[in-house]
Symmetry: none
C-alpha cells in the first residue's frame, strides 16, 4: 500500500482502484482473518468509500475469492498433469506450486488464505468445495488410475504441509533450504502418490 504517500481520507475511484481494494483486502484477510474482515474495514484501509467497494464486489466472499485468486485455473493444473512425460508429473506439480509460493505476492496470498481457512469454518467449507470441484475431480478424471481422487488429495496434503512448515511456521532446515533441493525431494513423493 502507498497510503502514507497520499492525502489521507476518502477519495474517489482512480485508474487502479479495484487493484488497490484487492490489495487492502489481502492485507486485512492476512492480518485479521476472514471472519474479522468487513467490507467497511477494507474500504477504510484502501481509503475509499464502502459504496465503491460494493461497486466492484458484491460481497465479502467475492472480495475474498478475487483477493486470494482462489479460482486456481483448472487448465493450469490440468496442463501440469497431462502436459509432459507422465513420469515427471510430480516434478511439474512441485515446480508449479513452489514457483508461485516463492514469489512475495504468491506467498502473501497463500498465507492469508491459510489463516482464513483455519480461523473460519465457512472459508474452510468454501475452499473444500472449490478445490474439490475445480481440482480434485477434473484432475482425477485425467489420471486413469484406481483411487484417483484419493491420490490427488494426498498430493494436496503434501503441498499444504510444505506451505505451512516452510512459509508459516518456518521450521528449519526446510524453511530455508534451496527451492531446487526441495523440489528434488518432493517430486518423487508426489509421483508416488499419483502413479505409484
Amino acid at each position: 500500500m502507498t497510503a502514507s504517500r497520499r492525502t489521507p481520507g476518502r477519495r474517489p475511484g482512480g485508474p487502479d482502484t479495484r487493484g488497490e481494494i484487492l490489495q487492502a483486502a489481502r492485507e486485512s484477510f492476512a492480518d485479521k482473518g476472514f471472519a474479522a474482515t468487513s467490507i467497511r474495514a477494507v474500504a477504510r484501509q484502501a481509503e475509499v468509500d464502502a459504496a465503491l467497494v460494493h461497486h466492484y464486489f458484491d460481497s465479502k466472499e467475492e472480495l475474498f475469492i478475487e483477493a486470494m485468486a482462489i479460482p486456481v485455473d483448472p487448465r493450469l493444473i490440468a496442463a501440469n498433469i497431462v502436459g509432459g512425460p507422465r513420469e515427471e508429473t510430480g516434478r511439474r506439480i512441485a515446480t508449479a506450486f513452489l514457483g508461485v509460493w516463492e514469489s512475495p505476492e504468491g506467498q502473501q496470498r497463500m498465507k492469508a488464505l491459510f489463516r482464513s481457512v483455519v480461523s473460519s469454518d465457512e472459508v474452510a467449507r468454501m475452499m473444500r468445495e472449490g478445490i474439490t470441484q475445480m481440482i480434485v475431480q477434473p484432475v482425477s478424471q485425467m489420471l486413469d488410475v484406481p483411487d484417483a481422487q484419493l491420490r490427488v488429495s494426498l498430493v494436496a496434503t503434501q503441498l499444504v504441509g510444505v506451505a505451512v512448515v516452510r512459509y508459516l511456521v518456518g521450521l528449519e532446515p526446510v524453511a530455508s533450504v534451496d527451492v531446487g533441493v526441495l523440489i528434488d525431494r518432493l517430486a518423487p513423493v508426489l509421483q508416488q502418490y499419483l502413479t505409484g
Copy 2:
C-alpha cells in the same frame, strides 16, 4: 497470572497450582524462548518452589509439551524412530501420529494448537524452537544419514499436511478414508524421506 494479588514470595501448592505453573511456563517460553527457560525460572514466575514444579513435571520438555498442549509427545516420536526395524520407521511414525489425531481429545488439541500457530507469530516461534530442539535435532542424531535434519523436517511437512487437510479442511476423500488405508499410503513416503 494473578501474582500481583497475592502475597509475594514462595508459597505451598494450592488447588490449581499445576495450572498456574503451566501459565507461568507459557509466559516464560513466550518471553525467553525454549532454550533460555528453566524449571527454576518458571518456579520463580509462578511464585512456587522449584521442587513443586518438579513434583508435577519431570523436565522442562514435559512442561513445554503440557503448556503448549502438544498433541503428540515428542519423546514418543523419538522412541518410534529407534524402537524397531529401520525399514518400518515410516509406518511406526504414521501410526503413532494418526493414532493420536484419530482420538477426539488428540484431534481437539491438534486443531487448537494449529490455530494458535497460524494466528500468532509468537506461538509459531515457540513451536519452531521447541520442535527443533526436542524432535528435529535428537532424531537427526539417531538417523545417521546425510541431510538428517532436512529429512526429519520433510517428514514434518507431510504429517502437518495430513493434519490440516484431513482434520481442519476436511478435503475428501482423504478426510474420511479409513485410517489404515491412509497409513498404508503415508508409510512409504515417510520412509523415503528418512532413509531413501
